[in-house]
Amino acid sequence: ETFKFAMIDPFSGPAAMVTERIEKVLRYGVDEVNAEGGLNGEKIEILTFDNKMSPQETAIQAQKAIDAGATILQTSVSSSNTFALVDFVRKHNRRNPDHKVIVFDGASHDPAITGEKCSYYSFSWVLNAHAKTAGLAAYLKSRPDITKVFLLNAEGSSGQTSRQAFLDMVGKARPDIEWVGDDTHPLQKITDFAPYIAKIRASGAQAVITSDWGADLSLVLKAAGEGGLKAEWFTFFSTGPGAPTAIAQAGLDGLVYSVFDGDPGLPDAGLQAHEVAFRAATGISASPFPGDSSALRALVAAAQKAGSLEVDPLVAALEGSEFRTIYGAPATLRPEDHQLLTQMSVSKFAPVTGAALDEEGTGWGWHNVAVIPASEVTLPSTCKMKRP
Amino acid sequence: MSANAIEIRDLRKSFGPVDIIRGVNLELRAGERHALIGPNGAGKSTLFHLISGRLRPTSGKILLHGQEIQGKPPARIVHAGLSRSFQITNIFPEMTVLENLRCAVLWKLGHRYSVLRPLGRLRDVEAECTRLLEELRLTHRRTSRADSLSYPEQRALELGLAVASGADTLLLDEPMAGMSHSETAAALELIMAVTEGRSLLMVEHDMGVIFEMADRISVLVYGEVIATGTPEEIRANPAVQEAYLGTPNAEEAA
């Protein structure tokens, strides 16, 4: 008898690149937990289901996961799938009160998941876009030299939510900033960003803020390097796969900042040890995906506290649980909206020397420039949760 | 209604700089069998294309029962009562003979684009198709795919499609092309039978056929009608001999 943890993510198609890494992080964490006795003595078993990056397919696969006996359904890649899963489980739990399941949101960062769509059975294990923007705003207060900023975001809810947050929150924190550009581009459709770079340069921007990720981010950074653009880049997802390679190739030495829950540049011994061990085992960095480890750590504690692996006691125990993230930072899961609260880190990407951790074999790595405490990135809950 | 089924007035057609039809005047009297002959490349098929709406004329008029049809799309011209066959067999190869004919009779029986009743229940369609199959001597092939028919059978079907649409005016473009003597004779008999009571304009190179079936003959040379008359008049016309027949007895060679 095992405790079944289902991972419902795109295991094929372009997005599989991300899934693949998340799976490694998760398996590594589960192996650790199982080695120490599992959840109250029960081993965790990972089941994987390919949702092919489609919300509809997510529903099919979720049903399969439930039939296979999974207690926790986790999805990480893309908020659209997360929404679909949260919705599916909300209805499922209502229609099948004897077979309830829990949703873990492992990496998607749309604030709506713990905001208007929040659900008693869903938990978000990463900081959301609003929190990250708050972190960015806090950091920019220490950079009065930056006054001309260009906004570049993708179409679609994720890019547009971030864009609005930048305008509101950064604008409020730094009223002196002039928005010299505000472009929305199609999602994952642009093959050559050179025109955008020309426009950014012409605007005289000192910095670009972007919520782009994946191929879009790699392409835009490459184009920036090629076009000789010297502006600084503030990004959420440049620790993710592909981006470090692109930055190093583009030669954007010290120009790209990661504003994220954490990164390998943080001076924490535990983190360093974890990264080294993890890289030795899997060949990739663990830092871009902190959600899985956080979820597992909270789960172990909650299982102990609840003394049961039944859904309702587990959910009750998960609420308000406190633990440390892989970055070594204290974190809590806020009971009101099931949103993770923790500190943030701002780092920039530049060449490293010696035994320091480099990324994707580029010889470049993250250098921490600031840690933003949790208090600065904690925003009030907007969730109106229906509790059973 | 005019006494002429088709009346063509000063019709012209050019492709780019080349004038192919250069002021054709032609009358097809109601109920007559009229043959159109002329050297290769004279423009006979082009004239048929112009009349039937496959091509638009550059200038001139075409009247069908007194109604102007030049430049109209083919379907409209069919509605006005004219239908044609093609020099190169032009049927529905992957459908059965029966289905070919069904398509052809649908419009005249008023069923058009209907989805109201299945074809099997349309008595009038079935009756008409049965009659046509009989007439074309294709009854034994009714469920064969059209592309599995022998060449003369395909030509018969081609003719059937033209006849089936119920038009009272028919244009046939070399209906016997590629047939042997005995096949030609059979085809001629068939054509005579199915065109009974209709006006017919037909292109053919086989002089034997033409002199046997035509009430009148027009000769088209370089895009102009150089002569129209009874078979005897045409045979005797020196200009026709010069332009088309070659030596006076060349027709025996054919």
């Binding site: 094929s12 529903a59 099919i60 039939d67 908020s79 547009q160 | 379907a75 049927i91 684009y113 109201l116």
Partner: protein
């Protein structure tokens, strides 16, 4: 007699020779038995998915098989139907109207039909490649519009609904997948019967005529464009019904459902199933649908198998799976299968061996390359193998190549035999 035998020697899988009512009885019987045979919610909701895709594929075949039109954007109507139905449900639920859920596809279908008339009017001036390209362009436009109108399409996350909000009707509250199964099954029978009926109507016949020889149709008094437009609209309407059913089943509809990937999927289903047999697309939808939903559990390489299956069908069975079945059925009835059986069995056996080899090669390849992190030890088809072991690779290659090579002489013997039996036309040159 024309020399270009290549153009004319197209596939000619004959009409099915089964009595007309038999497949229908079989279909209805199967629809009854299925949910009993496969309990479990996931299985039922998979069946629901297959049912909707089967309707979708049938609608696509109105274009591809019946009218000879290659649409690269049929999913547009599947998706739009789904959005229309979803918004209708949301609107009616908010207004508090009582509308029986099973009739919701009517709204989606009607909406898609009307849009289909418009799209068909634009696209059907020509057949062939221009038609394919216009449908591609139109569907890309509709897809791109989704990014511009998030209030209709709901951004990437789509629009979700709760199908129970319309209340109970027909004695069901629509909470369980089984209720939805009833809806899908009934709609499947309605759509299949309707489309089958359509093939027997004058317009259905004209669609065939347009496929065969669009120009000649004009000289019979019909407008090929109008025929295309109406068949396009009908196909769109049925696709809209399928899309509505998908929306009801998943309770969410997203722009992915009207994108190129979905259009491709339905094309694959229809073609692999077989375009010249009425139920062919259904077969394709079931096979591909199952592969899509279940194969991804068994192997990370499912997309590769998908592509290979597709290439295989295109190369050796242009009549699709249904074409093979119909051909085999005809042979059995003609009593011609008997003499071929030993050879066929040998070919089948070797084919399976070769297939096993190919599967091993692919799985080993994935383990050696992409999934190297999972370790080199792997069980393939029950055999323990090692992605870094020479033996494993050798065995796989031996099976794959050996099987394929030893099949070749057998295939030519089969061909000679079929010649002797008078089954094969066409000259070997």
């Amino acid at each position: 007699m024309t020399m270009n035998a290549i153009e004319t020697a197209r596939s000619r899988p004959g009409q099915t020779l089964l009595p007309a009512t038999l497949p229908w009885a079989a279909v209805i019987a199967v629809l009854f038995i299925l949910p009993l045979a496969f309990p479990g919610t996931a299985m039922v909701s998979t069946l629901n998915y297959l049912g909707t895709m089967a309707i979708f594929a049938l609608s696509y075949n109105v274009l591809l098989g019946q009218t000879g039109l290659l649409s690269l954007g049929h999913a547009t109507f599947f998706g739009l139907g789904g959005f229309i139905a979803t918004h209708a449900l949301l609107g009616m639920a908010e207004a508090g109207w009582a509308f029986p859920l099973p009739l919701l596809p009517l709204i989606g279908g009607l909406g898609a039909f009307v849009l289909g008339i418009f799209g068909g009017w634009l696209a059907s001036g020509k057949g062939g490649m221009p038609f394919a390209m216009i449908t591609l362009g139109l569907s890309e436009l509709v897809y791109a519009a989704a990014a511009i109108f998030p209030s209709i399409y709901g951004s990437e996350e789509g629009v979700s609904m709760d199908r129970m909000e319309l209340g109970s009707s027909f004695g069901m509250d629509y909470g369980s997948a089984t209720d939805i199964y009833v809806i899908v099954a009934v709609w499947f029978v309605i759509c299949a019967a309707g489309l089958k009926y359509f093939t027997t109507t004058p317009l259905g016949l004209l669609a065939n005529a347009v496929r065969d020889n669009a120009e000649r149709v004009e000289f019979l008094g019909f407008s090929a464009r109008r025929v295309r437009m109406w068949t396009y609209a009908i196909a769109a309407g049925v696709a809209g019904i399928a899309g509505s059913l998908a929306a009801i089943n998943f309770e969410i509809i997203t722009v992915i459902e009207l994108g190129a990937a979905t259009s491709t999927l339905v094309l694959l289903m229809t073609y692999i199933g077989g375009t010249r047999v009425f139920f062919g697309p259904v077969l394709g939808a079931v096979v591909i649908g199952l592969m899509k939903v279940w194969l991804s559990d068994l192997t990370p390489a499912w997309m590769l198998y998908f592509g290979l299956l597709f290439i295989f069908v295109v190369m050796v069975a242009p009549g699709g799976l249904a074409g093979i079945l119909v051909g085999a059925g005809a042979m059995i009835r003609a009593g011609r299968l008997g003499p071929q059986l030993p050879l066929l069995a040998a070919i089948g056996g070797l084919g399976l061996l070769s297939l096993a080899g190919v599967i091993m090669l692919i799985e080993l390849g994935y383990r050696a390359g992409l999934d190297a992190a999972l370790g080199s030890q792997i069980r393939i088809l029950g055999l323990p193998m090692d992605a870094h072991g020479l033996n494993s690779w050798g065995l796989a290659a031996l099976l794959a190549l050996g099987g394929a090579l030893s099949i070749r002489p057998l295939l030519s013997r089969l061909e000679t035999l079929q010649h002797r039996l008078g089954l094969k036309g066409g000259d070997p040159a």
